[in-house]
Symmetry: C2
Amino acid sequence: MILDFKRNDDGLDKDVRRTEIRRLKAVLSAQQQEIRGAKLPVIVLVEGWDCAGKGNLIRELICEMDPRFFSVKSFGRTHEYDERYPFLKKFFEVVPESGKFLFMDTGWMEDVVGKYLRREIPAQEYDRRVASVNTFERQLRDNGYVVIKLFIHISRACQLERITALRENRDTQWRVSGDDLWQQQEYGQFLKAYDDFMEATTKISPWTVLDGEGRQKALYDALSAITGNVEAAIASGKYEGRPSGVKFPLLGGPSQKDADLTATIDPKKYDKKLRELQEKLAKLHNRIYRKKIPVVICYEGWDAAGKGGNIRRLTYPLDPRGFDVIPIASPTPAEKARHYLWRFWTKLPRSGHIAIFDRTWYGRVMVERIEGFCSENDWQRAYGEINEFEKELTDWGTVVLKFWIHIDPDTQLERFEARQNTPEKQWKITDEDWRNRDKWPQYEQAVEDMLQKTSTEYAPWHIIESVDKKYARIRTLQIVTDALEKAVDENVVRGMKSRRVEKNS
Amino acid sequence: MILDFKRNDDGLDKDVRRTEIRRLKAVLSAQQQEIRGAKLPVIVLVEGWDCAGKGNLIRELICEMDPRFFSVKSFGRTHEYDERYPFLKKFFEVVPESGKFLFMDTGWMEDVVGKYLRREIPAQEYDRRVASVNTFERQLRDNGYVVIKLFIHISRACQLERITALRENRDTQWRVSGDDLWQQQEYGQFLKAYDDFMEATTKISPWTVLDGEGRQKALYDALSAITGNVEAAIASGKYEGRPSGVKFPLLGGPSQKDADLTATIDPKKYDKKLRELQEKLAKLHNRIYRKKIPVVICYEGWDAAGKGGNIRRLTYPLDPRGFDVIPIASPTPAEKARHYLWRFWTKLPRSGHIAIFDRTWYGRVMVERIEGFCSENDWQRAYGEINEFEKELTDWGTVVLKFWIHIDPDTQLERFEARQNTPEKQWKITDEDWRNRDKWPQYEQAVEDMLQKTSTEYAPWHIIESVDKKYARIRTLQIVTDALEKAVDENVVRGMKSRRVEKNS
């Protein structure tokens, strides 16, 4: 039991404590510059009982700090997210840039435990979310984040006292919500649930329990925990995790060698087939919108393989209000300064919507690997991190489809030359394309590794032969319509909650 | 009357029209590269009747375009915004980067007219919003945006036919909302309201009415309007508006000359006064939160004038869940590529929250003016644009407070040298600070112009003498608490709607 509530008096004199707090605040303030130099991002998660003094603690922590280098995020009950996005999205969204502090006023603990106790998610889904939280914390750690988790603990009697004091004062009585009263009444149930959650999430970053009944002591302990952890992290340098060794349900994975690049479609049949599939897709789009199924379609492929035209044939029948094409270029400075999946987490489709990524998170194991934009450790670890990311999406009910648009080097050369020789198309071909072409063998290997290591049962790769672009378009449309048809026909109630349960059995 | 619904047949043959549409789609596609080169941002606003085919039109417009250079935004009914932000924020948020197209599926027309007809805003507020829309469109134009406004018009009978067809089909009946049925029933009322709105907003960018009963004709007319306008804009180069000449209720405006830099506070009284004001502020923060009053506090001042410490004294008593300090540095590339107020519009506080800007939009008329980051025309025009921006905020009910933290050059030198000689503070002083110091006379002039031209009745400047930093802190705290006290005591019902009305009388 983590929350066994024994008062651990350190016997510090009141005045000495006050002096120490002043000293530690100055240390924390100075650490802002140190983490800036070391490019460390630091997350301080403050959880705890209602009325335990979370807001007050954060106020004291930040009061000497420079607002340019920290931010505060509060998470209350988040209804919209629960229905429209995977629950982790809201936390991924706020991760700080390297060199900055983030203080969170409640986070993934209150979110998961609260929803579980309010019966908004069943036990099975609770377990899954706990596992997701551990994955999330590991990914943060492995990518250099320092995560410090605090829990402010107060007894039932103390909570009652504070609630009563708030309610007796006209100016503050509105602060006491039904949720607070319910927690007070069900203190025992919450105590067990908090404790269970903490036990289950202590592996990656341990919890620090603060005694919320002595505010100065709690502040002092919080400052000690934060400055101590940050100091240690600065001393040991940015942490870089090893690949995690988690096993995924991998398929054999298609290989480029098995692709039949001579595949073609009879041009006479093409128009008819295209129209047929597009009409079908339009109807399916309607149905996934109504059933609130989120869809993520990933396009990767060789330069000039025909991704753009393929995407256009796919989007043509779609209602513009229900999809987005998200072109992925090299990351902006704000993106580079965060977990490399941050820019994808923040662009996920709402439930019922389709997001089409024109290039994707697989850049990590292709261009970033080959150009040395990340370490070998980083891209080796990425296969597992990406599998985890896609698992999070499919567990939530997302249809994830991944296309590798495939051609051979000769076809690419032909198309490059055609672009070069057509004035309106010259902007499409750059020196970089030629440089990438020179690295065909390295890319071929990277593609092969990617196909083998990230073709999971829940998010398999499809190689789309695209020497005949028309053939390729029909193939992707066929795969998309089949997958959406299957998804809308699955005989489950489509509210996110029940779907999640069914999916995670 | 703009919507006088006469069928304007251009007599084009069906096949010719089809060929023309194909040609114009190719032109539009090519224009994506041209506006990229010319750094023009283009907004295509598609408004129209329910069931007029807005989504379908946009689908056809974008189907040949490259998703890297355009985006589509849909605006349905937006409840959250109505209560939490000025209504223009959602539109400012989506303005495209220069070189890109934005297609809007309804926008400021449906938003304003719809809310008015649903009686969500009274006539007075409707008039105010129409004026705001004109200001918005002018600001966009003056800052180089091309705005193309389309309205798809259908008759009452045609709308009924389409609604009936949708309702008769099981797969599509859900698409007909109560709002659609109500519009059909109240067609006449809507016709007048749409027409009035269009008449009132045709000055800056005129409307193009499309006949939605002939879909090919509507598409052709839309393509002609868009490509024609874009071609003209490319030919004439990026537009740069002159200062608008709109008059604002200017106060005399404080002058730096009148500042008494010898002002001090007795250090013995300081601690007590500080505590008093901070306690008062904490209580007021509670009250503005409950009354949902948004607050914007702007800090500008000389380097080393003591902004940071001043802000910290102000935020110390505030609940971290209810305020944000927003440090403003030089704009990111994404910010630079948009209207210069974009990065401030997107950071406005939710109702009931406080946003403290550490440097502000006044950078336009100070550093950008002095360093030549914008043209003289741009910064001259900015005084009016900023007054309009702040008017939009205060009309909506925001308390706007602006502080110029003032010192003399000798004091600055002393502080610069102190920083230089204190190892922990050296990071705070850069070569740029010294370079800015050399331009003191230019800045002094720019500050003076700013104080004179943007001290309005609704958002006045306060010069805060800060040679004695303690004196300065007490002064700002006093001004803030006085202003918040006045705001919470105003005897109005605090729902945003009624507030707006009262504020705009």
